[in-house]
Amino acid sequence: MPTTAELMVSNLSVQFGGLKAVNEVSFSLQPQTLAGLIGPNGAGKTTIFNALTGLCPVSGGEISFGDQRLTNQPPHTIARCGVARTFQNIRLFKNLTVLDNLRIAYHKNRQYSLLCSLFRSPRYWREEEQITARAKEALELVGLATKAEHLAGSLPYGEQRRVEIARALMLSPKLLLLDEPAAGMNPQETLTLLELIRRLRNELKITILLIEHDMKLVMNLCERLFVLDYGHLIATGDPKAIQSNRRVVEAYLGGTGA
């Protein structure tokens, strides 16, 4: 289903003790945009993701998604609003199979009741079949259909990243947040990933916001960039504009940037 909801972040602040990791950041994201969030290490990028997904308390400002207010909602509620994410340090359920990792993520769409599950009503069987089918579809999409029965933790790093993306897709999200999806991948793999992300946006019509240090990927993929430094949003714009922004070059890109 195409997304029409718009992400609005206004004056978002996150504080850890004395440290203001995110400082009065405001931005908005039009539906079906493919946007990037970049900035030096420790700039607060992941923290913004955490605030968006309810994993860390917001100390000021507002986050809304469509007509839903996400500020300081518990993570599972936010997930139910259609916001899915991946993690910088992969957080797969390592001891479970790839398939189970995905099936878990169908949770919010599950219809049958506790009693149905305890006594295995026909409805249970029907829906379980459906869930498995959905999971296989998602795996197909990221090109891992053959790995369904593998333990998630046993896969190579790059594949784990893709499983994590597939798992996020099981939520049928409207907004997908990807935290450094290309980290630890070689250029070839990065390229495949780039194609995948682009396809996801085009086929599923979802909004994607990603954090990435690989400038090649960011510049090729994103339509819009937000640059963060020391918790402040220092620049917004399309890749071209950002690349030539002197502040961004100084703080982040350096001499060879891109």
């Binding site: 997904t53 309810g54 994993l55 518990p74 993570p75 599972h76 936010i78 997930a79 139910r80 899915a84 994410r85 993690f87 957080r91 797969l92 359920f93 390592k94 001891n95 479970l96 189970d100 099936r103 878990i104 993520a105 169908y106 949770h107 919010k108 599950r110 049958y112 506790l114 149905c116 599950s117 305890l118 006594f119 295995r120 249970y124 379980e128 869930i131 798992r167 996020a168 099981m170 939520l171």
Partner: protein, 321 residues
């Protein structure tokens, strides 16, 4: 793979056969009341271990106060049958329900506490229950609760154990169970996938406690006497259950069943060795743990499929040799 319907049928037949064989041997005098008694205890322990597995093994909470739930079920049901003349089945249900409620209450600290801190809180909870019972004159206090009718037969214990295992298996293999697994594996990831970890922790505690309560009800009407001692309803019992759970393998239901049965029978076999019994038993425990650190079943399940495969394997290897 064998078809689910078919395996279901095979399993039911197998379970009935086991019951039939026990009954037959009993009537032929090959199984003495003593043996049947031990088997009943095995069933009660199966319920306890499997229900703890739901909390510790599948949901990843660290509870060492399971005997507290057993105590609630045991005493409440005994009180109901002895003092209120409530029918046994209703008493079992009431015991389970009150224990389940207590499980809800214990589930709450589980929301804030992790790992060893939770363990201590559950241990504390178990001891609080025990001390309260110790001070309750209505159920005999330190004297213990005697005169409980012997309602628990092997049949009832066996049936309850089967129901427990089946229900918990069904739970675990549903979306609910997967949500619990997710909470166990990585709470943050689970939350971000829309799993309300609070709800599932409390649910696991409540459900686990419910079954422990029913086991308690069976237990008091099996022993006909309850005493508020650590080894019967206190931390010693909780640890016994935990040992069975870990030895069977966290997260494996068949492992729990096997370990509960084996560890109920072993002390029985060793009983004649007097003081040496308590030296042999811990050595066995340590050795098994050293060689099978993830437990007998190591998170796997023994299923008809795997058995069939095993048989085939044996057959085919026999064929080639």
């Amino acid at each position: 793979m064998v078809k689910p319907r078919l395996t279901g049928l095979i399993k039911i037949i197998l379970l009935l056969c086991i019951y039939g064989v026990v009954r037959l041997l009993e009537s032929r005098g090959l199984l003495l009341p003593y043996h049947v008694q031990v088997l009943s205890l095995c069933c009660i322990n199966v319920i306890l271990v499997v229900s703890l597995n739901l909390i510790n093994g599948f949901t990843g909470q660290f509870s060492i106060g399971h005997a507290g739930f057993l105590a609630i079920g045991a005493y409440l049901s005994a009180f109901l049958t002895v003092k209120m003349h409530v029918p046994f089945l209703a008493a079992i249900l009431c015991g389970g329900l009150l224990a389940g409620l207590a499980g809800l209450a214990v589930g709450l600290p589980a929301l804030r506490l992790r790992g060893d801190y939770l363990a201590i809180a559950t241990l504390g909870f178990g001891e609080i229950i025990r001390v309260i019972i110790l001070n309750m004159e209505a159920v005999g206090g330190a004297k213990g609760f005697s005169g409980i009718p012997k309602y628990t037969t092997f049949g009832i214990a066996y049936l309850t154990a089967i129901i427990t295992v089946v229900v918990i298996r069904n739970f675990v293999h549903s979306d609910y169970g997967r949500a619990c697994l997710a909470v166990r594996e990585d709470e943050i990831a689970a939350e971000s996938l829309g799993v309300n970890s609070t709800y599932f922790k409390v649910l696991a505690f409540a459900l686990g406690a419910f079954f422990a309560g029913t086991a308690g009800a069976l237990f008091s009407h099996y022993l006909q006497y309850m005493a508020p001692t650590p080894s019967q309803i206190g931390f010693v019992k909780s640890i016994d259950i935990l040992i069975m759970l870990v030895l069977g393998g966290l997260g494996s239901l068949t492992g729990s069943v096997i370990a509960a049965v084996v560890l109920t029978i072993i002390p029985e076999l060793l009983r004649g060795f007097a003081e040496y019994r308590m030296i042999i038993y811990p050595i066995l425990l340590i050795v098994v743990m050293l060689y099978l650190p993830a437990g007998l079943m190591a998170g796997r399940e023994l299923s008809l499929d795997s058995l069939a495969r095993l048989c085939k394997g044996v057959k085919s290897s026999a064929h080639y040799s």
